[in-house]
Amino acid sequence: MKIKIIPLILLTVGLVFSCKKETKKESNVNSEKKEITKDSITTEKKYGDLKVLNFEELKPYLTKEDNKTHVVNFWATWCKPCVEELPAFEKIHRENKANNVEVLLVSLDFPNEIESHLIPFIKNNGLEPEVIMLDDPDQNKWINGVDKSWSGAIPATIIYNKNKRTFFERSFTYDELTQELQQFIN
């Protein structure tokens, strides 16, 4: 029983922490709104285990040095070609677990549409790969941080492991994605 409580506490602390961070960023927008989000963990709970990170916090996910091949897809619910290619990413996620492949979906949805668009989308589509939301307004800085060749158009994808890294500013079909992935897992 005790063991079960610990992660719960950690989760709560984590939620409060991330909640504070979010309000910090919007500090000069609306102080009234700030009070509401700060106090109510209930609002945060609706996010489930969705992480909302700035670029510095996201960076470790783009530079893991483990034995896995990571497929990181930048998308948003408002981006039609992104939504169209999601099934391909889900499929390679399902099919390549044994190959040590991990898919991460980095959402660039708008923070005020998390509850109205992003969360329902994740639920309705039963998205299996982990979804992290990137909320960092200084795009001119972090787009180059993702890849110098990226213009900022989405969808965009990084495939990387310890030995190799490729960035793609394009859409993928399942076959195209599998083909690129083969170069990493062989």
């Binding site: 795009q139 787009i143 900022g152 989405i154 969808p155």
Partner: protein
């Protein structure tokens, strides 16, 4: 087997060359921009050369459907209002193929411009010949052209400012800064910036 291999190698070379030339062909900062002629929402043709009596032109690739384009519409109108009188009018171009980008057809462009009260031409890149020459990849994507002795020279590529979601929270007004610098006879303090946007939709 050997033949197969060489075909494979050739294919790779061909693809690489195709991609490299494509990137090289797009205008770089300092390049002279060719004239283009596109249809405006009022049915009349508009050419870059029509602006030869201006200091320059703020070319904005934008569209109807993209949420980032929508977020910037009011700011694009404000740019035109502020800089048209100073000799840097806005020319907006929709680069999307309406067959693959719902809501970006010519009639919808007319409606959008009317409802938002666009003060500038909103041209349709019919056949998608113009945007690749600029190397535009997303909407909105801004290209500032400076008129140098009747030649339009590319002087800035990138975003409008550094905060798409909230104009009042923007710290750097990239386009305004660049045009102000050009009007002062200087090079723009920043010539290239980046922002998230919708990919330009091309027929499959």
């Amino acid at each position: 087997m050997k033949a197969l291999k060489s075909i494979f190698v050739l294919a790779i070379v061909a693809v690489t060359v195709a991609f490299t030339t494509k990137a090289k062909d797009a205008y770089q900062i300092g390049d002279k921009v060719d004239n283009f002629t596109l249809k405006n929402i009022d049915g009349k043709m508009v050419s870059l050369n029509d602006y030869k009596d201006q200091q320059g032109v703020i070319v904005v690739f934008t569209c109807n459907h993209c949420p980032y384009s929508k977020m910037y519409e009011d700011r694009i109108i404000a740019l035109d209002k502020k800089y048209k009188s100073k000799g840097y009018p806005v020319v907006a171009i929709n680069p999307n193929d309406p067959a693959v980008s719902q809501g970006d057809d010519f009639d919808s462009m007319k409606e959008r411009a009317k409802s938002k009260g666009f003060t500038f031409p909103y041209l349709f890149d019919d056949g998608q010949k113009v945007f690749p020459k600029f190397g535009a990849t997303r909407t909105p994507h801004v290209f500032i052209l400076k008129n140098e002795k009747k030649n339009f020279v590319l002087s800035y590529i990138g975003a409008i400012d550094d905060n798409a979601r909230d104009a009042s929270s923007a710290n750097e007004l990239y386009v305004e800064n660049a045009v102000d610098d050009l009007l002062a006879g200087k090079s723009p303090r920043k010539t290239e910036t980046k922002a998230i946007g919708c990919s330009i939709k091309v027929a499959k």
